[in-house]
Symmetry: C2
Subunit: 344 residues, 2 copies
DNA sequence: TTTTTTTACGAAAACGTTTGCGGCGGGAAG
DNA sequence: CTTCCCGCCGCAAACGTTTTCGTAAAAAAA
């Protein structure tokens, strides 16, 4: 099954012109008479001519498409980011090719190779939880492939980055729990190799310290696979619950960890917030109908996607090599709901 | 900023061969000696040669990419479907280009034009709620562009379709409410022009009739924009609540409608299921931590995506025109949770 | 009128592949 | 000693563009 489109040749033949003339007319070149341009444009419009983007790509050496590597889209934070990416890309006539690493280092490498061999013009990346080594991206970056990181970024590559103010977001979340009177606040977080993990951890610790509390390593649990393996989260939670001094609140560091933790607590019949309070980083659109409604640190996901894409396209379209790289930090918002409120 | 890759020409020059020989060697042609093949393959591997997919596309007239049009990915049903699409596409070395209609007819048209002019080899489509007319797809289909519909399908185009058993899913959901003793069961659904809407509506009505109840038109509310406009859902719900005989249960027909309805009921302080019970079509991974946990009709979303993609690729790669089109119907699963349980 | 400039267009190469065909050399068959 | 065949490889065209360069004819300047 094939589907033949009209080409510049057909127009040339029909109008008794050369292909070059038609091409120039289509692009409004000054070396074509107004009359010819009108004729060509009219014919093109009438026959719904669209230049073949593949031929254009081959000629120009640019594909007008950008690749995206995220851990997974089945998650409100990332799907909102992608909404933002798409809106800008579309506006600037770029295609978006989305791939998912599922938090796997190997799949991240496979995706980056696939995308670059697919000749995307640039890459938007949020690292997988398993990733400890970014050589695969360094190699591509050295070859000149523009890339912008968001959310889970790396310091090893000099390029633009867009992140939320994770430190501040975590600080505020923890401070809120402290203000509510909780004292043994645990932290369930993602892989220790992720930038977001460290930043959020710092915010959490600082809030404790500012309240005169010493961060307790026993209360900090890492999930190396970012919660993609449910058992991982279950174990982290179990370890917390079996401490002699059980935590009275938990601060979870990502979307998936937050929902999984809430779900587990519910299954274990542990009342939230009466027995354990909960605050989580999440962009879930349903956080207000959770049981209990979940106090959340919300990231400006859509805006992050838009900003990231803007920066990437700037990079792609810049004539001269860019050396001035920005790290844009966007503020989060703490939405206080029931899961973190001190009862009685 | 450009990023030069190694081409067949470089290999040819290095090995003192012609480009055609290299090309044939790469593809294992029988008219090339084993030794030459070995040399070429070795050199290619060593220098990490990857054929330029754009040049291949131009030559072959196929782009090895498929376009997807869904209403929006910020929704567990669709993101799970896309997971399924991606897994098969990747496996068969196709790219996936995702676009969102946001339930808008105009954006759906714009997306279909954009994708087809981007020379995708085929289209995967779930219609927008606003769409009443599918001429834009008919035109593309007549030109020979392969397409497969899923979820929200149309009878006007003869091609493969993949849907859930909406009739049965709705029937079972309604019957479950009836078995729990509810009698005035309302139905909040999407646009009346959508296939899923009609099928679910039929299932709902049939269950009522089988229980000896007459479907009451006052209890059936349509949301022409599929719930993308929150006000729409609010109004539908308000109208139901203001009936002289208030419903004692609601059956919602889509992911977004379900979560929005639950959220509204909560804001209005209407106890679920005590005052009004709720069952909804939803693939939300968080349905079990909703307040109350939401009884859901779950669709096999991932499987639907996989099946759809399989069928599309069959269509794309088929030598002869396909005339035998299938409509695959997959069973849903009713997950009974708290929101539908009769209290006392 | 002759020369120069301008206008408007066409020819051809190039982007990186794939593929039909033609050719060269050597061994087998006549 | 010819003829034929076959294995192996290169030439060139093609996919649909863009772009450089060349060149007619018309217009302007001399």
């Amino acid at each position: 099954m094939k589907f033949e489109a009209i080409t510049i040749k057909h127009i040339a033949k029909a109008l008794k012109l050369s292909v070059s003339t038609v091409s120039k007319a289509m692009r409004g070149s000054h070396e074509i008479s107004e009359e010819t341009k009108r004729n060509v444009l009219a014919y093109a419009r009438e026959h719904n001519y669209k230049p073949n983007p593949i031929a254009q790509s081959l000629k120009r050496g640019r594909s007008k498409s950008i690749g995206v590597i995220v851990c997974n889209i089945d998650n409100n934070f990332f799907s909102q980011v992608i909404n933002g990416i798409e809106s800008i890309a579309r506006q600037k006539d770029y295609n978006v090719i989305i791939t998912q690493s599922q938090e796997s280092y190997e799949r991240e490498i496979a995706n980056s190779e696939h995308l670059s061999s697919r000749s995307v013009d640039g890459l938007i990346i949020s690292l997988s939880a398993e990733t400890k080594n970014v050589d695969h991206f360094i190699k591509l970056h050295e070859k000149g492939l523009p890339m912008v990181f968001f959310d889970r970024v790396t310091d090893e590559i000099a390029t633009h980055k867009v992140i939320a103010n994770n430190y501040k977001g975590a600080y505020e979340a923890t401070r809120h729990l402290l203000q509510q009177g909780f004292r043994r606040i645990a932290h369930i977080t993602s892989s220790g190799s992720l930038s977001i993990t460290l930043e959020r951890l710092e915010g959490y610790k600082k809030a404790l310290e500012d309240a005169g509390l010493e961060p307790d390593p026993d209360l900090i649990k890492f999930c190396p696979h970012g919660g993609m393996i449910p058992e991982e989260t279950r174990q982290a939670l179990n370890e917390l619950l079996q401490l002699e001094q059980r935590p009275d609140a938990i601060f979870t560091a990502s979307d998936r960890l937050s929902t999984t933790t809430l779900s587990l607590l519910r299954k274990m019949q542990i009342a939230v917030p009466q027995q354990i309070a909960l605050v989580g980083f999440t962009n879930s659109i349903s956080a207000d109908i959770f049981h209990p409604s979940l106090t959340s640190v919300v990231q400006p996901a859509m805006e992050m996607g838009q900003l990231t894409t803007d920066l990437l396209i700037q990079l792609i379209e810049s004539k001269r090599p860019v050396t001035d790289f920005k790290k844009r930090v966007l503020d989060t918002e703490l939405k206080i709901r029931d899961s973190s409120l001190r009862t009685q």
